[in-house]
Symmetry: C2
Subunit: 164 residues, 2 copies
Amino acid sequence: MMWTTDDATALRRAGEILTPRVADILDVWYDFIGSTPHLVTIFRRPDGEPDGQYLERVRGRFEHWVIDVCTRAFDDQWLAYQEEIGLRHHPTKKNQTDGVASPARHVPMSDMLALIVPVTLTIRNFLEEGASESDEVEAMHQAWFKTVTVTLVLWARPYAGDLW
Amino acid sequence: MMWTTDDATALRRAGEILTPRVADILDVWYDFIGSTPHLVTIFRRPDGEPDGQYLERVRGRFEHWVIDVCTRAFDDQWLAYQEEIGLRHHPTKKNQTDGVASPARHVPMSDMLALIVPVTLTIRNFLEEGASESDEVEAMHQAWFKTVTVTLVLWARPYAGDLW
Ligand code: HEM
Ligand code: HEM
């Protein structure tokens, strides 16, 4: 029911389909964030306006992550990278990578976790569009859902301390 | 992309399909928990053995929740109930409802959130088995996924304090 070797195979194939579409995928997700006021405010400048440069730089790393998550081995280095991304949403490290002075000191954990829903559901169209006849879209989509959820659970670690 | 009136309709219909199957659904989920040592240990007695009575009593409330989530309005009373369930997984209130002395003082947040995956994926078969020709299984399943995720995000509140 959880992670199997079939999931690993399906996720690799999903990566082949999604990699050339990664800019389109980010368009969809950024449209969602951009049209949700309490999300876009997390990218605000000290004057309260959205920081276009910050948004753009994070977008690049987000694209990179889509490819990464489908192609990299889930080893210790990958785990350490997840811990780092979690900290970059948390007050410990948000704003540092891009050297911004955003008054939004962290991404609320609730927003971070709730994004699992659009990040999971919107991928299905891209998989369907890119699938060949022998591909099982449902299997690829389930593998994507499992990976996203586990990844987000890892990112939530610094938020919950000992109770994680 | 998030919660719509179509989702509300689909979830009501899902409730009609799932309510008569609720014992079978819990069988599947309890099989999963029972076969995952780090989960079953959260129901352990002071002597380290699984507490059958505790498991059984929680199972009843879990069944109740499946029906509830599909049928109740998401109003303030519902929100207060979600807060209560979150606290019953958290050290604040775990073990109290059943008057048990389990040394497992809380359900780790990571385990709680990761269960979103099986609780989402296993429902699809039940929806397919109960659907009539005019039902859209995909729509019901998406509504279920959204509801479960939002519910779990609410339950995670006491774990993250100000950073929630
Ligand atoms: C499924 C949920 C999410 C995923 C997969 C995701 C993905 C990512 C990735 C890959 C990065 C770049 C990490 C790096 O530096 O390498 C990032 C950074 C960031 N994300 Fe998220 N994110 C999610 C939820 C959210 C939400 C809901 C927000 C709120 C708007 C958000 C705001 C940010 C911000 C502000 C940064 C930059 C942090 C910094 O200052 O370095 N993220 N995200
Ligand atoms: C999708 C995730 C989960 C759902 C939907 C869920 C659902 C529920 C529900 C409905 C209850 C009864 C609440 C009440 O008293 O009214 C409950 C209690 C409980 N759950 Fe969960 N649960 C989830 C994750 C987990 C996990 C991963 C564990 C670990 C084994 C767990 C262990 C418990 C325990 C021990 C109780 C009893 C708490 C007490 O002492 O009152 N739950 N759960």
